[in-house]
Every structure is written in structure tokens, then in C-alpha cells.
Symmetry: C2
Subunit: 222 residues, 2 copies
């Protein structure tokens, strides 16, 4: 769950219980990991500074030193989410043979991330809980946006000059909306009644495949 290995032992003596060394050594990352575990276990509402501190086995005032307030912790966590999401999108993109395949692969990575991390995904898109000006969050969000933009431009022909900006913006919005809407509805359980009509071993990805295909074929003639 952690992006980086701890630089120092998290708790050389008792684990989780108080009684370790006075200084944690890597408390910031440990708190982020704990917060993410809470998010996964109890959802967005279960994430509090006190709960994250308790989960880490540390005094409940300790997080203040690293994040300032709850919004700070949430923003750092969301930033980590966007970074990892972008990483998984990039990995999917790199494996694709064509620009069309790349768009599909990015979309599947986006949905897979949301399904694998529903609480975190929700947090990432609850602006009211985030400080959009936090540098880490700002750059992570814009990195992801750049990645999506790059994929859309590549599909449109890649030429840097000849591209119609309005068309590119529309393509980005359409691609993001489709995949984000699917992920959001799926995570919220809204697609359950529709999934019930989809056969196969993995109805969710089958349905997503159909949806992704829909942007290449005209809808059934009226």
C-alpha cells in the first residue's frame, strides 16, 4: 500500500502498541498508510486524525506535525492516489500497440483503480475535503490530466500543430467523462441492476468492454 519503503524501522520493539522508540522515524508515511487502510475499511467517513493516529499506534496529536489538519492529510492521500492512478494508466498505455488500444487500456486502468480502491477514489473526487492548492495534489492531478491529454492527442494524429484544440478538449472530456461516470456509478453500486443482465465470468469488465466499444461503433440505427 505504501509507495516507498520506510527509511527507518516503523516500530522496532512492540508493534502497533506504544513502547517503541520515542521518534517514529517514518511517521508521515505510516500515517498515510494507516489512513488508507481506514479508508478501505470504513470509507471516507471513517477517516479522522484520531483514527489514523490510533491505527498507527501514536498519540492523537502527532499527525498535526506532519499534515497540519485533517484536510492536509486527506489532500496528501488524494495526491498519492492520483500519482498511483496515473502510474497505472501509464503502464497500461505503454503496453498498448495502437493509439486506439491505448485509450481503451487507459480507461480500463482507470476503472480498475477505482474498483481496487473505492474509498480512496471517492476521496480523490470530493473537492470539498481537499485543499486543491497543496503542491503535491496540484501536480499529481495535472500529471494525470497531461497523461490523458497525451493519449487523446496521439489518437488524433499526434501532430502538434494541426490539432483542433476544441476537438481535443472535447475528446478529452468525453473520454474522461465516460470512464469516470462508469467508475463512479460502479463503485456506488448503481450499475448492479444492469450488471445482473450481463453474462460471463466478470460482468464488470465485460460491461466496460461493451461501453468502450460503443465509442467506436455508431449506436444501433433508429
Amino acid at each position: 500500500m505504501s509507495t516507498t519503503e520506510p527509511a527507518a524501522p516503523a516500530s522496532p520493539t512492540g508493534d502497533g502498541e506504544r513502547g517503541g522508540p520515542y521518534h517514529h522515524g517514518n511517521l508521515k508515511q505510516a500515517l498515510l498508510d494507516a489512513a488508507e487502510a481506514l479508508l478501505r475499511r470504513e470509507g471516507v467517513g471513517g477517516l479522522t486524525l484520531r483514527a489514523a493516529a490510533a491505527e498507527t499506534g501514536v498519540s492523537h496529536a502527532a499527525p498535526k506535525n506532519h499534515f497540519g489538519d485533517l484536510c492536509g492529510l486527506q489532500s496528501e492521500l488524494a495526491a498519492s492516489g492520483f500519482r498511483r492512478l496515473a502510474g497505472q494508466m501509464r503502464a497500461a498505455l505503454d503496453d498498448a500497440a495502437t493509439a486506439d488500444d491505448a485509450m481503451d487500456a487507459i480507461g480500463r486502468a482507470y476503472v480498475a483503480f477505482a474498483v481496487a480502491n473505492p474509498g480512496l477514489f471517492n476521496l480523490m473526487y470530493r473537492s470539498e475535503m481537499l485543499d486543491a492548492d497543496r503542491p503535491a495534489l496540484k501536480s499529481a492531478v495535472s500529471d494525470m490530466a497531461m497523461l490523458l491529454r497525451g493519449a487523446v492527442v496521439a489518437r488524433a494524429g499526434g501532430g502538434a500543430s494541426g490539432v483542433n484544440t476544441a476537438a481535443i478538449v472535447a475528446d478529452i472530456t468525453a473520454a474522461w467523462s465516460l470512464v469516470h461516470g462508469f467508475a463512479t456509478l460502479l463503485v456506488d453500486g448503481r450499475l448492479a441492476p444492469l450488471l445482473a443482465h450481463v453474462k460471463g465470468e466478470n460482468p464488470e469488465s465485460s460491461l466496460l468492454d461493451l461501453v468502450l466499444a460503443s465509442r467506436k461503433t455508431r449506436p444501433p440505427a433508429r
Copy 2:
């Protein structure tokens, strides 16, 4: 804001202040209206039983009689939202000339509702705050789903027997996802950087028009 006119005067004497008649006469609807005003003013986090009661000028224990708990109030409010959303979608649909136009009109109504009622729209899609088994909510959600399904089937040819169920389910999911993703991202402020590149008086609806058009034209050749 209220769906129905009050059956009895909300507060024949003092308005808002305590001092009116002992029985309110239409407290349930008044609480729903107050809750919606709170949602609009302060967002999902600002909605509490106490705040709704205070806004209505009533004892903070009074809501219990009508909704049981906060989840009950939220569910009734969400149900009202789905009912009105479906109503506006239906109105848009009825004005459309062709089945293709109808799909676009529904999509525009969906986004317009989200923009006009961002807090309520958010609440409607926060399942963790709702009791999906509340009859009012259950039926409102399924009404909206039926309406969308009807529009998709009509566009697919309308024939009741010959339709490919998998294709219909995929079309419903794709249409809903596209429009829901757009609405969600827009309400959360995520489209702001993209909107900055869209010219015109109303960039939001211009961008939506481009997005809706994208499902009829193939993307630019790669």
C-alpha cells in the same frame, strides 16, 4: 423547491421563530425544504438533523417523528431529487422530435439538474448516506432508470422483441456513464481547466454539446 404546496399554513403566526401553533401542520415537507436549503448553502456536510430543525424553527428532536434518523431524512431528500430529475428528463424527452434528439435532451436535462442542485446531486449518489431500501427512494431510482431505458430502446428501434438485451444494457450504461461522469466532474470543479479553452457565452453547455456529439461521430482518424 418543494414539490407540493403545503396542505396547511407553515407558520400562521410568527414566521421561522418559535411561537407558531404547537403543531406545524406540514412539518415533514418543511423539513425537507429546509434540508435542501442547507444542502444548497453548505453542501452535504452541512446537513444534520439539528440544522434542519433549526432552519425550520422547530425543536431539534422533532425530525425524529417524521424520518427516524438522519439517514431517513437524507433518503427522502434523495428520493425527491430522483423524482424531480426524472421529471425534468421526461419533460426534455417529450419535447424532442427524434429518438436521437431525445437522448441528447435527456443528457442535457441530467447535467442541468446537477448544476442547478449540486449538493442534492452529490447526496443522491452517496449510497453510504442513503437507505436504498426506503420505498420512496427505491421507486424513484427505478423510475429514472426506466425512463433512461425507454429512451435507449426507442433509439434502438423500439421493437420490443428484436432488441439485443446485451446491446441495450451496454447502450444504457454508456449513455448514463457519459452524462453522469460529465456532471460529476463538472460539479466537482474538475472540468475547469478544460472549460478555460472553450469559447462562447456558456462554455459548460458548449462543451457538453461537443461531448454529446462525440457519440455520433467517429473520433478523428488516428
